[in-house]
């Protein structure tokens, strides 16, 4: 296990190194002045320019510049946003929790619905139920997410008026930001309307969560179904059946646990796709998360922010990926050999 962890750690280091190299080179690849791309300061007076050039070592070799860049990253100096002239790191700190909140609920939903449906589909893959579930999943992962979101908004919020069309909370409710996670913050806030606000937040969450959960749910269903079918063929299941255990008992004691193991790994692998979808979902539902922030930065030609957003999202994806892999390995010693 230690050996495995060390190997992963080394890989993480390599990947982070490559990532920082990519982010650094973007400073030069983006149109405009590299100094402005790195610092994000809009008005660079000659004196400031000279100071920054020295501090960023832009008059030295690329290697030296890169080291200075790493040093800044390490010390939390990620530059300013070109648009707002605020430190990027503090802006990211404000938007990142919203994204994490939304994606975790979506993952939770996809887990809650995907696993049972996948099992259902595996019981009789050629039966009606299996076929119906199959059709839904194929349709589900062919849906263009932005169109699907528009459809739901048109029907459920504009048409029926059941849900709000966007945002995290009714704007008249003022909830101080403590953790950045809306439901937690509402819980912490001292307000007489707490219950009403909490329900309002849930209503705001409903549509984006459904939209974002659509794709991972379908993937989960198919994955669980395939895993179940595979496990079902294993010898130990046959043995269990031969021992006279009922179908349900076999399913619960032997099948499920072995089939669900790869599902943990699957969460990590799907996370990258989930973040992509979250970006689009956030744009459509005006969800103040990092995806919307990043896309706004692109419309604003806010290059320092794009650079920082790339790094943060990639690190997030890599971390989740690693964590699930480690978890998976922890539960499944066989995987350590690889």
């Amino acid at each position: 296990m230690i050996n495995f962890l060390l190997r992963r750690l080394f890989l993480l280091g390599t990947v982070l190194f490559g990532l920082s190299l990519l982010a650094f080179s973007l400073g030069y690849l983006f149109p405009g002045d590299p100094l402005q791309n790195f610092s994000g300061i809009r008005q660079l007076e000659p004196q400031l320019r000279a100071e920054l050039t020295a501090a960023y070592r832009l008059d030295h070799s690329y290697l030296s510049q890169y080291l200075a860049f790493l040093n800044r990253l390490w010390h939390g100096d990620w530059g300013l946003s070109l648009a707002s002239q605020q430190p990027l790191l503090s802006e990211i700190r404000q938007v990142l929790p919203a994204t994490i909140e939304l994606t975790s609920y979506a993952l939770l939903v996809s887990f809650l619905f995907g696993v049972p449906l996948g099992i259902l589909a595996a019981i009789k893959p050629e039966g009606y139920l299996g076929k119906i579930i199959n059709t839904i999943t194929v349709a589900g992962y062919s849906l263009p997410v932005f169109w699907w979101a528009l459809l739901l908004i048109m029907v459920f919020s504009v048409g029926l008026g059941w849900f709000p069309s966007g945002g995290r909370l009714g704007v008249l409710y003022e909830i101080p930001t403590v953790s950045g996670f809306m439901l937690v913050d509402i819980f912490l806030a001292e307000t007489p309307y707490q219950q009403a606000i909490f329900l309002d937040a849930l209503r705001h969450l409903a549509l984006p969560t459904v939209v974002l959960a659509t794709f991972p749910t379908t993937v989960m269903i198919r994955f669980v179904r395939d895993a179940m079918l595979e496990v079902w063929e294993q010898n130990y299941i046959k043995t269990a059946k031969a021992k006279g255990l009922s179908r349900l008992q076999v399913l619960y004691r032997h099948g499920l646990r072995n089939a669900l193991l790869p599902v943990i790994r699957q969460i990590g692998l799907q996370f990258s796709a989930l973040i992509t979808l979250a970006m689009l979902t956030e744009v459509i539902f005006s969800w103040p998360g990092i995806g919307r922030w990043l896309l706004d930065s692109i419309y604003q030609r806010n290059f320092p922010a794009i650079q920082a957003g790339l790094m943060i999202i990639s690190v997030l994806v890599i971390t989740v990926n690693m964590l699930t892999e480690i978890l998976h390995t922890f539960f499944n010693p066989l995987a350590r050999k690889r």
Partner: protein
């Protein structure tokens, strides 16, 4: 004339024919194939069959409703947009941009991926492990994010979108092809062929490629559905196709302002994207199932 068969004869269908038989057994896959072929055909002939010029602004026919509503005109089956352009013609033309372009980007990425994947697969040691890590890095970045970054560097536009999507798809191909080749290299018949004196090139072209092409097609089908979705998403975000190009995603974002007045102008392009991706996925799924069943039979 039917031949009288006395002895039981093992059937010797070619693998391709077996594959087709298994494929054709699945109704959904056949349906997907039909849909796919029609999109393919449309994307080729679209410029010649549009009933009107998709860019022509008829300023006396603004926001004409579809022909099934009372105020519609038969000449404009889906109506016109708010600049008086025929929606049907634009949608047809859009097939070339969304579906056709996606196909081109996938083929481009596939060819490059084949070259790089072969290079990586056939080489071993330090080079290979470095390459592996580099791929791991790029694979962690979501493809749409990668495409967005590339567009941010190159600037928005349809051609840049194609480059971006192509580049974003490349790592998957390299990774997949490299793994497939590695798997093949371990097979005994490769060793045998090598012992016969075959060099790397011969092993690759005569043994490996013929054995992995089906996998490549499945891979391509997955890439194609990603490509369509990404091109449409970039168009929707106004980072891809720019006005007045009738790319489906861009058409949705163009018509978004009219969603209450002319819901069809948002619904139909979306439906087409959905159908296009669905057709690709159905074909891909069908192929996968067919390959699996062939192996089992």
């Amino acid at each position: 004339m039917r031949k009288f068969r006395l002895y039981f004869e093992e059937q010797h269908r070619s693998p391709l024919a077996q594959l087709w038989r298994e494929f054709a057994r699945q109704h959904s896959a056949l349906f997907g194939l039909a849909l796919f072929s029609s999109f393919l055909l449309l994307s080729l002939v679209a410029p010649f069959i549009t009933p009107h010029d998709p860019y022509l602004q008829a300023d006396n026919l603004l926001l004409l409703p579809p022909s099934w509503s009372e105020q519609g005109l038969v000449q404009y089956p889906f109506g016109t947009d708010d600049l008086g352009r025929d929606l049907l013609s634009r949608l047809l033309k859009g097939t070339t941009f969304t579906f056709g372009l996606a196909l081109v980007t996938v083929i481009g990425a596939l060819l490059a991926g084949l070259a790089l994947g072969a290079l990586a697969g056939m080489s071993q040691g330090m080079k290979s492990s470095f390459f592996n890590h580099l791929l791991d890095l790029i694979l962690t970045i979501p493809s749409l994010l990668l495409a967005i970054i590339i567009v941010a560097v190159l600037g928005p536009g349809l051609a840049n979108t194609a480059w971006a999507v192509s580049l974003a798809l490349l790592p998957q191909f390299v990774h997949g092809i490299r793994n497939a080749i590695n798997e093949q290299l371990k097979k005994d018949y490769v060793t045998a062929y090598r012992l016969d004196g075959a060099n790397n090139w011969q092993v690759l072209t005569r043994l490996i490629i013929p054995n992995i092409w089906e996998k490549i097609i499945v891979m391509s089908s997955m890439a194609l559905s990603t490509a369509i979705l990404d091109i449409a998403a970039l168009g929707f975000l106004s980072l891809g196709a720019q006005a007045p190009i009738p790319e489906w995603g861009a058409m949705i974002s163009d018509s978004l302002d009219l969603i209450y007045l002319a819901p069809a102008s948002v619904a139909i392009p979306g439906l087409l994207i959905f159908a296009a991706v669905l057709s690709v996925n159905l074909v891909g799924d069908g192929l996968k199932t067919a390959m699996q069943r062939r192996r089992e039979s």
